[in-house]
């Protein structure tokens, strides 16, 4: 029995999302869990989590929206990346410089 069970509210203490709250959604291993909440859904090492005394009833495979509600965090759905339409640039009209007599001599 470890502290890191499904439903345990944790703070991330490492990485670019350090200081953010999350809930353990799934336990993968002795060392790894899947966390969701203020951070995006991701695998996380247990050493990078600081557990709190709060446990939320969370189903094994809950959606991110439900977890955000349970934690009391505003939920922002991920924007689908729109592929920018690549506009092909018309080739620039270049004027070829006529070879100067000096250059012509060099080539010869």
């Amino acid at each position: 029995m470890t502290m890191f069970d499904v439903g345990r509210v944790c703070y991330k203490i490492a990485g670019r999302d350090a200081g953010k709250k999350g809930v353990i959604v799934e336990v993968l291993d002795v060392n790894y869990v899947v966390i969701d909440g203020a951070t995006r859904r991701r695998k996380c090492n247990v050493k990078h989590l600081e557990p709190t005394d709060q446990v939320i009833s969370v189903k094994h495979g809950s959606a991110s929206e439900d977890i955000a509600k349970a934690l009391g965090i505003p939920f922002t759905p991920k924007k689908a990346k729109q592929k920018k339409e690549q506009v092909k640039k018309a080739p620039k009209a270049t004027v070829k410089k006529a070879a100067t007599p000096a250059q012509k001599e060099k080539k010869a």
Partner: protein, 89 residues
């Protein structure tokens, strides 16, 4: 003899060989020293230390790590600070 302003220790002296074979002294401006952690004084990683004109042209994300207190605290001190905040509630 160098001009008087080059005698200052803000310049560092570098010996250079000329194509003619002579060794001459060149005067180079010194780079700033590496940044240190605000908590423990350890040298911080991921932060370039260049003269201001170069630093101005480097984008912000390439000058510090992408984490809270990046560029201010080392990772160890940062964790201590975050854990303290988490335990407060």
């Amino acid at each position: 003899m160098p001009i008087p302003q080059l005698k200052s220790r803000t310049f560092r002296r570098v010996q250079r060989r000329t194509p003619g074979g002579k060794t001459v002294q060149h005067y180079h401006l010194r780079k700033p020293k590496q940044p240190h952690c605000g908590g423990c004084g350890a040298i911080l990683h991921g932060i370039p230390h260049e003269r201001p004109v170069i630093m101005r042209n480097i984008p912000k994300t390439m000058k510090r790590p992408e984490r809270p207190y990046g560029g201010v605290l080392c990772s160890k001190c940062m964790r201590v600070a975050i854990v303290f905040k988490a335990r407060q509630g």
